[in-house]
């Protein structure tokens, strides 16, 4: 039997103490691992959100309030001025209008399910439409005039992805024809096919395509050429949202400043990067929380082990003296105690790891959900709606809940779907942490071993 074996054996010398120390270390290490995993997962999510927010700037009229309008529309001239700013590669514009039953032959699909309820609640709450229960309320049909069919509904409260044509064809960005491509939900509600016609603003519009944008909400819209909507709705030259593409991410803020200077107070100019950062705020706070908790638990585990080892060394002072009197080198006695501390740590790591893996996912989602909902009003304003959201504080207090609840859900869901996984590097970090705990925990106690004089064994207690 050598010093190491003796050390390992000593770990189990006092079973109650062993269980106590191992249990505390287990909890600390389980928490560390959960925090490590949470941190990794959140980090990955942050990276991916950052990577996906590109070099775009959103321009919308000041005070523009999502579906319910508000503010003074921008003009086509203003948009074309933006196009000529250096580093701007392209500008896409939309004008969104709503057709009530007196304006069109179309019927909007009735929203269903809880999302539908929140949707109509949102209209009621924001004040743009008569409130009331979702059962009797018939929403208008939304018409989006766009210069970029295929990209008009991407993101935000539109809830859509890229619109993919399921039949027919699209129109060109500069088209002025009385044509439309319609969402597949709207198409089926109104039995529309390619070649069908409907009326809007007393004009006959021909359906040339049907799209699918991956969400019932976005699939209830009508897309028409921007110029056509401007002409038919009597809003010639009006634009209520524009997306400016900049040649490189580095130039985004410079271009943004120029646009702001050109449009003055007439428009809200935001870039996707800033929006993303605001959206990421809750995730960043989770990251901070998990980092500090990780540090805290590691330090805590180290202190617990350190105090335990100090206690053990003090208790076995005489035995240390005996070993030295019998001719054991100080280093060999130290090895024995380091082996003991390491065994405690490994036992704690083993159980802590098992529990940590089980807890990592629920802890991560709890952290992310709590952090997101506690700041939901903050990010839903910016993230939930096209065109850069609401000016701060303009949301009417009481009636707003339905409206931004949807934003929080729709967006919050995407940001809270954080994937946890335990990778090789996480394992490695965890192992290093365990070793660090063992090293810190035994160092001070082991230093005391050197100070035990073998002559002490001849003193009676």
């Amino acid at each position: 039997m050598n010093a190491i074996t003796r050390g390992v054996k000593n770990t189990f010398r006092n079973s109650i103490r062993t269980v106590g120390i191992v249990a505390i270390l287990t909890v600390a290490i389980a928490l560390s691992i959960s925090m490590l995993v949470a941190r990794d997962a959140v980090n990955k999510k942050i990276e991916s959100v950052r990577a996906s927010t590109g070099n775009t700037i959103s321009v919308s009229p000041a005070g523009f309030f999502g579906f319910s309008g508000g503010g003074t529309p921008l003009t086509t001239t203003q948009i074309s001025d933006i196009s000529s700013i250096r580093h701007v590669t392209s500008v896409t514009s939309t004008l969104t209008q709503r057709l009530t039953s007196s304006d069109t032959s179309l019927t909007a699909p009735t929203p269903s399910g809880s999302l539908g309820g929140q949707f109509s609640g949102g209209f009621g709450g924001s004040g743009g439409f008569p409130g009331g229960s979702s059962g009797t309320f018939t929403p208008p049909v939304r018409v989006v005039g766009t210069t970029t069919p295929g990209q008009a509904l991407v993101g935000g409260a539109n809830g859509g992805g890229t619109e993919t044509l399921v039949s027919g064809s699209s129109f060109s960005g500069t088209s002025t024809a009385d044509v439309a491509i319609v969402g597949k939900t709207l198409a089926s509600t109104n039995s529309l096919k390619v070649g069908s016609t409907f009326t809007a603003w007393n004009t006959k519009i021909t359906v040339i395509g049907i799209y699918n944008a991956q969400s019932t909400f976005a699939n209830s819209d009508v897309l028409m050429p921007l110029a056509t909507v401007q002409k038919l709705s009597g809003n010639a030259n009006d634009v209520d949202s524009a997306t400016v593409y900049v040649d490189s991410v580095d130039n985004v803020s410079a271009v943004q400043a120029k646009i702001k200077a050109q449009l003055g107070s007439a428009a809200d100019v935001t870039n996707a990067q800033q929006q993303a950062e605001q959206q990421l705020a809750p995730l960043n706070s989770v990251k901070t929380i998990s980092t500090y908790t990780l540090l805290g638990t590691v330090v805590g585990a180290g202190i617990i082990l350190l105090l335990s080892m100090l206690m053990i060394v003090r208790e076995r002072r005489r035995e240390i003296g005996v070993l030295k009197a019998l001719g054991a080198k100080s280093s060999s006695v130290m090895r024995q105690f380091i082996a003991e501390a390491t065994t405690f740590t490994l036992l704690g790591s083993f159980f802590g790891f098992l529990i940590g893996i089980v807890l990592a996912n629920p802890i991560t989602s709890t952290l992310v959900t709590n952090a997101s909902s506690s700041s939901s009003s903050g990010f839903s304003r910016d993230g939930g709606f096209p065109g850069g959201g609401f000016p701060g504080g303009s949301l009417p207090g009481g009636g707003s809940s339905g409206g931004f609840h949807f934003g929080a859900r729709g967006f919050g869901h995407a940001i809270t779907s954080v994937q946890t996984s335990i990778g090789f590097s996480t394992l490695l970090v965890a192992l290093l942490i365990a070793l660090l705990v063992a090293a810190v925990g035994s160092s001070v106690a082991v230093a005391n071993i050197a100070r035990v004089r073998p002559a002490e064994v001849l003193r009676s207690e």
């Binding site: 054996k9 009197a325 002559a455």
Partner: protein, 224 residues
């Protein structure tokens, strides 16, 4: 042959210096058992700690078989203790979570005794001190005081050191058991040809020794 001359050791404590060993000189041959007697606080344990190289003297010289030991470094003293000295204590000082056999093997390990022969050597020593059967596999708590001191004697003699130092080896035992333990020390000193120094308060123990030395206030003298 153990030769000590003019050994001195003092301790500084809060109340000033205490000279525990003032001026000690004597010689002891191998195979000889020497008893050291004296009142409490007279410096007996301090003297043993100097002889066993648990501590270094302030001055004087100390040699075993012609090798000077007073000036050894800390690590040389450790090596010397492992190879050349066996200790027997009043409180037995066995390691509580090791069996009797493992306790004996401990001193063989520190003395670098060949690994493969340690278990057999420990068994042999335990048989010699009269511990047979399953007692070798018991932990100290499952042995009587006398049996524990036998294990300690087996541990002290296991690697055949030339010097055995015993501080009150019968102090925790009843009279009869104490007598048997001293007889065992006496016999083993002869068979192993070792010098055995026994510190004791007990006259009947001292009587079994070849020679008796008395220490008072750190000064040693031979008793006829």
């Amino acid at each position: 042959m153990l030769t000590i001359s003019n050994l001195k050791k003092s301790f500084s404590s809060g109340a000033g210096d205490v000279t525990a060993v003032k001026d000690v000189s004597f010689e002891a041959r191998s195979g000889e058992m020497v008893a050291i007697i004296g009142p409490s606080g007279s410096g007996k344990s301090t003297l043993l700690s100097l002889l066993g190289l648990l501590d270094a003297p302030d001055s004087g010289s100390l040699s075993l078989d012609g090798k000077e030991l007073a000036s050894l470094s800390e690590s040389e003293r450790t090596h010397f203790r492992a190879k050349q000295v066996g200790f027997v204590f009043q409180q037995f000082n066995l390691i509580p979570n090791l069996t009797a056999r493992e306790n004996v093997m401990l001193s063989l390990e520190f003395a670098n005794y060949p690994k493969a022969q340690r278990a057999a050597r420990a068994e042999e020593m335990l048989t010699m001190v009269g511990l047979t059967g399953d007692k070798a596999n018991r932990r100290p708590a499952k042995l009587s005081g006398g049996e524990q001191q036998r294990v300690a004697i087996a541990r002290a003699f296991a690697n055949q050191p030339p010097l055995i130092l015993a501080d009150e080896p019968t102090g925790s035992l009843d009279r009869a058991t104490g007598q048997r333990i001293v007889a065992l020390l006496r016999a083993t000193a002869t068979t192993q040809d070792a010098t055995v120094l026994v510190v004791t308060h007990d006259e009947s123990v001292a009587k079994q020794a070849d020679r008796r030395l008395e220490i008072e206030d750190g000064v040693l003298r031979e008793i006829a």
